[in-house]
């Protein structure tokens, strides 16, 4: 079978190539071969001219002769890479010499490949096709990625707001804000509340991952005491914990050193670890949140009574969608994103997050954050 049938066909017609060579005959030959394939060709007879033409035509690929009077191919390539950076088209060097040194120098200068003269048309076309395909796929990938970000941004508004209204209205109803409810009505309202709450959490977590992955995680750091954040989180987790008759206590023997963190983001980490502890511990447990401090760092650890982390699942723990075999003990939902987000947030603060099983039962999640200087 013809090998080309195995590669998915990508339409490369009309992709533009800048061919740079001081030898007119060569330009003519290679230009002819490439035009025949449907590529759009621009020519330059020197390095200097190539730089000018590049700026004007912005080709998808550059075929660059090494030996030219004036600035040579390597220098031309280096200038292109320096000027256009990440967005620079791939450069394939054309050289009459096939010395290994030349090839290495070409790659050093930023080239992606090389061709030796005299040309074998099939080789020329195959290599060009490969690099143009890669370049096109990269272009499509970054467009798709931008579309995904836009879509997620849309989710932020179009899903989050209505969901938080549904949740809020259900909460208000269960608080008898519109009059007292029958047992059955209360059950229904609580179901609406629970379902909208878990959807909201899922949407929020997906958005967090997307934001962090896109490199858009911005930290608004300020000096903070970790105990203040922990106290607040314990208060907020109290309702869920009380449902399972679980107690959360804070132990703090530190002098409350300041850490330099984004409060909202670290709050999210604390909330997440405490919620997990409640979620995976049996009813009636005691969860301890310990405030830690040493010379350079301050942080906290959350000690639960859950099943602990099996050794063979440890590697999945802080990864996206890394759900383990342990099941929530009160039918709670889990997206498998929480700990991945925690790790990303902590690492963005140049801190560390780790977990150890405690002797007997349960485990201890430890977060360390750099102290404020």
């Amino acid at each position: 079978m013809d090998e080309s049938q195995n590669t998915p066909s990508i339409d490369l017609k009309g992709r533009s190539i800048l061919v740079v060579d001081d030898d007119r005959v060569n330009l003519k030959i290679i230009g002819g071969i490439l035009r025949h394939e449907g590529y759009e060709i621009t020519e330059a007879a020197s390095g200097e001219q190539a730089l000018e033409v590049y700026a004007e035509f912005r080709p998808n690929l550059v075929l660059l002769d090494v030996m030219m009077p004036g600035i040579d191919g390597f220098a031309t390539c280096r200038t292109l890479k320096k000027t256009y950076g990440e967005t620079c088209a791939p450069v394939i060097f054309v050289t009459a010499r096939s010395k290994a040194d030349d090839i290495v120098m070409g790659f050093d200068a930023g080239g992606v490949d090389y061709l030796t003269k005299p040309f074998r048309p099939k080789e020329v076309l195959a290599r060009i096709r490969t690099h143009l395909s890669n370049q096109l796929l990269l272009e499509q990938l970054s467009k798709a990625n931008a579309a995904k970000d836009r879509f997620l941004g849309m989710c932020a508004h179009d899903l989050r707001n209505p969901l938080s209204s549904i949740r809020g209205l259900a909460e208000l109803m269960s608080e008898n804000a519109i009059g007292s409810l029958t047992e059955e009505q209360r059950e229904i309202v609580n179901t609406i509340h629970g379902a909208s709450q878990s959807m909201l959490q899922l949407v929020n977590e997906l958005l967090d991952v997307a934001t962090i992955e896109a490199g858009h995680l911005k930290l608004a750091k300020e000096p903070t005491r970790i105990a203040d954040i922990v106290n607040r989180s314990i208060r907020l987790s109290g309702i869920e914990a009380a449902k399972k008759n679980t107690r959360i206590e804070m132990v703090n023997k530190t002098k409350n050193p300041m850490i330099d963190v984004d409060r909202n983001k670290i709050r999210q980490v604390v909330d997440n670890l405490i919620n997990n502890a409640v979620k995976y511990s049996p009813r009636g447990s005691l969860i301890t949140v310990k405030i830690n401090a040493d010379e350079t760092s301050s942080g906290f650890s959350v000690i639960d009574n859950g099943p602990g982390i099996p050794d063979n699942e440890r590697h999945k723990l802080f990864k996206d969608y890394g759900r383990l075999s342990a099941q929530p003990t009160g039918g709670e939902k889990s997206t498998g994103l929480g700990l991945a987000i925690c790790r990303k947030i902590v690492e963005a603060h140049r801190g560390t997050i780790s977990v150890e099983n405690t002797p007997g039962r349960g485990c201890e999640f430890v977060v360390r954050l750099p102290r404020f200087k």
Binding site: N161, S165, G168, L172, E175, A177, I178, N264
Partner: protein
């Protein structure tokens, strides 16, 4: 929450207005005005002079920051609290620079929204000052 004043609630989304106004009533606020965009907000404010304005950031027609500027032009001392869905530092800074007193995440659990409102009312309406709209002391 002890607040006898009136509140103007501005948001383009009906469900948010429903939720926040129910929450306000639940917290004991008696007089609530609503507007669904910035232009309408300025009109209602001209007419009703609410004591506190809850103002959405993202709105069509006239966005929250422009509306905030308009409100401050009518009354430089008006108390405005921004309603946001994502805590965007830039937007919050913009709002504060233009005279907003505070911001509230409308996607927060309702106890938190209530607490943030109570805090704003405590700071912006000093206890010594006569409570706006409250009956004069006997």
């Amino acid at each position: 929450m002890n607040f006898g004043g009136s509140i103007l609630l501005v948001d383009d989304e009906a469900h948010i207005r429903k939720f926040i106004s129910l929450l306000l009533r639940h917290l004991g606020v008696k007089r609530i005005f609503e507007a669904k965009n910035g232009t309408e907000a300025l009109e209602v404010y001209q007419r009703e002079k609410a004591d506190l304005i809850l103002l959405d950031v993202n709105m069509p027609v006239m966005d929250g920051i422009d509306t905030l500027r308009g409100l401050k032009k009518i009354n430089p001392d008006c108390v405005v609290v921004m309603l946001t869905s994502l805590a965007n530092r830039q937007t919050i800074d913009d709002a504060v620079r233009n005279g907003a007193s505070n911001y509230i995440r409308k996607d927060a659990p309702f106890e938190e929204i209530g607490r943030a409102l109570a805090e704003t009312i405590d700071t912006c309406f000093e206890p010594d000052a006569p409570d706006p709209g409250a009956a004069p002391p006997p």
